[in-house]
Symmetry: C2
Subunit: 340 residues, 2 copies
Amino acid sequence: MLTERQLQVLQVIIDEFIHTAQPIGSRAIAKKEDISFSPATIRNEMADLEDLGFIEKTHTSSGRIPSEKGYRFYVDHLLSPSRLSRQEMTVIADTFQREMIEFEKVVQKSARVLSDLTNYTSIILGPRVFETTLKQIQIISLSDQAAVAILVTSTGHVENRYFNVPASMNASDLEKLVNILNERLTGVPIIQLQEKLYGEVAELLLKHSSDFEATYNYLKAALLEEQPVKLYMDGKTNILLQPEFNDVHKIQALYSVMEQEEEMANILRTSGEGIKVSIGQENQLDEMQDCSLITATYSLGEKQMGTIALLGPTRMEYSRVISLLNVLSKRLTNTFHSWY
Amino acid sequence: MLTERQLQVLQVIIDEFIHTAQPIGSRAIAKKEDISFSPATIRNEMADLEDLGFIEKTHTSSGRIPSEKGYRFYVDHLLSPSRLSRQEMTVIADTFQREMIEFEKVVQKSARVLSDLTNYTSIILGPRVFETTLKQIQIISLSDQAAVAILVTSTGHVENRYFNVPASMNASDLEKLVNILNERLTGVPIIQLQEKLYGEVAELLLKHSSDFEATYNYLKAALLEEQPVKLYMDGKTNILLQPEFNDVHKIQALYSVMEQEEEMANILRTSGEGIKVSIGQENQLDEMQDCSLITATYSLGEKQMGTIALLGPTRMEYSRVISLLNVLSKRLTNTFHSWY
DNA sequence: TGTTAGCACTCTTTTTACATGAGTGCTAAA
DNA sequence: TTTAGCACTCATGTAAAAAGAGTGCTAACA
C-alpha cells in the first residue's frame, strides 16, 4: 500500500521525532544518509502520507510529526527490534544475579531497572494471589483482644491479617483453632478459601466449641478481606523529563490517575498475553491520551501471573522499550519458574 | 521592638499572602477592617518592616511579600492557634473511630486525612521498631532451599525475612531451631537481637547440631538485615496545586528528593519532640528551600515513637497546620497507648 | 512520467515599541 | 505624627514589525 520511499520517509520522521520531539521538515529528511531524493520530492511524499493520516502538521507551514495512526503503523510494520547494548544487558543481569528468594524484591528491582534504563515510568503488577494455594496459616495473639493471622501461600507470599479476638479465647483455644484451620485449609487454592471456610470448617469449629463462634466471625472477615493488588511503580518523576509534560495540568492529570492503583491494576490485569502497545487515544483512560502504555506478561507454567509495563509519552522509543520488556518478562518468568 | 501598628501590618501582609499568593500593597492593607490609617502611613511602616527584613518586594514598585524571617517571626510571635472547624473534627474523629487494630492502617489513614484537609503533602514516619521487643518468631519452610522467618514484635508489628536453607535441614530440624529461638529470644528488645544472636543462641544452636551452622548463618543475616524505615506519604500531587510550583523544574527537584526515602526519614527522625517548624532555607535539603516542613511527634509512654509532618510551600497555613498536627499526633499517641 | 528547482505564501516566533496600571518613595501640608 | 499629592518604577498587555522555517504549487528538466 505504501511505496518503499514513503516507508522510508515515514520511518525517518518517526525516528527523528522520537529523539528530538520537534517537527521534521523536508530539508532535514533529505539530509539523512539513506535518503537520496530532493526536499521537493519528499514534500510530495509527505503530502501523501498526510492524506493517509500517518503524519500531521502542527500548523500550516510546519514540519510534520507522526500521528497516532503513524505510530501504530510504525509499531506494527516498521519496527526493527533493537538489540540491547552490552551495558544494558549487564545492568539487567546484575539485577537478577544476586541470590534472590523474595519475590517482592525481585519485582521492585525490576521496576527500578526498567525506569532507569528508559527514563519512563515503570509499572509492575505483582503475581496474582488467587492462582496459588494456601501453604500454612499461623495465628499469633497480640493481646487479649487482638491477634494476627499469617497466611503463607505456595508461592512463598506471606500476608498478615489482623483481627479481633473475644476475651474468652485463651491460648490453647487459639492453638486448637489453628490446628483445625491448617488441617482443613492447607493446600486449598486461595480462591476457594471462602467456600471451604463457610462450609466444613465452620461446621467443625462450631461443633468443637460454641465459644468459637465470635472468633470465627472475626477471623472469617479477616481472611476473606479483599486484599488490594500489589502495584509497583518506579520512575514517576521521569515523566517530568519529557518535554510534552512541561504543562503542570497535564502532570497533575496523569499523576492523579497513577494514584488510582485499582484502576491502573485493572488495566494491567486485562492486558493480553505477550507484548501489547496502547498508543494515545487507544488507552482507556482520558488522562492517558498523551501517553503510550506498553505491557508484557510474565507467567508460571501456563498461567499468566502478572504484568510489567512502561508508561511514557506517545513519542516513545518503542523499539528499545519492547526489547527491554521482552527481556525482563522472560527473566521474571524464569525466576518464578526456578522457584516452584 | 516592633510597634503595635507594625505588628498589625505584618500580620495582615502574611495572612493575606498566605491566602492569595500575591504581593500586598498599602492600599489593600488600608482597606482591611481593623486597619484605621491611610495607605501612606502604611507605606512608611512597610518601609520600616522591610528594613528590618520581615517583608520584601518582588520588584521596585510591587507590593510586599513576607520574607522567611517574616514567617519565622509570625510563627514565633504572631500565630493565633486556629480552632479546627466542626467538619474537620468530624473527619478526624471518623478516621479514628473505626475499630482499628492494625497500626499500618491507622497511619495510612492519618496521612490521608492530613493531606486531604490541608492540600499539602503529608509524611509520616512509622513507629520505631527497635523500641519494641520480640514477641514471637516463626519459621515456615517454603521449599527445600528457602524459608521465611516471621517476626512479631510486642507492638503487633509483623515482619517477614526470607532466607536460604541448606538441603540437609528437615522439618523437625527447623522446628527445633524455632523452639530454641523462641525460648531464647522472646521478650528481647529488637535492638539487642544481635548480641543475643551472636552470643548464647549461637552457642546453643551449634552445640545442638553442627548441621545448624549453615542455617544459622543464613538466618542470622536475615534477622539482622537492616530493615528500611517505613515512610508513609500522601497527597504528593497536592504540591502541584500550589502556584509556587508551576515550574516543572521545581517540581522535579522536590519530587526527586521526596523519593529519597532514607533521607526524608532521617529528617523526620531527627526532628525534636513536639511541633517543629522549618521554614525555607532553614531546611537541611537544598531542594526544600522553597518549602516549609512542620513536624510533630507521637509516642508510647515516654518514648518518642515516630513523626508526622506536612510539607508545603513556605506560604503555608501555619496556624491551621499546626493545630491539625497537634490533634493528629495526640490521637496517634492515644491509639498507640490504648493498645499496649 | 517521475523528479527537482524556484518562488510565493503561511504561520510561528522573536523583537520592538508603546500604553496601562499598580504601587512605591518622597515632599510638603495639615 | 499623619496624610494628600505626585513623580517615578516596573510588570503586564497589546500591537506591529521582522525573521525564519517550511510548505504547496508551477514549470522546467531528465
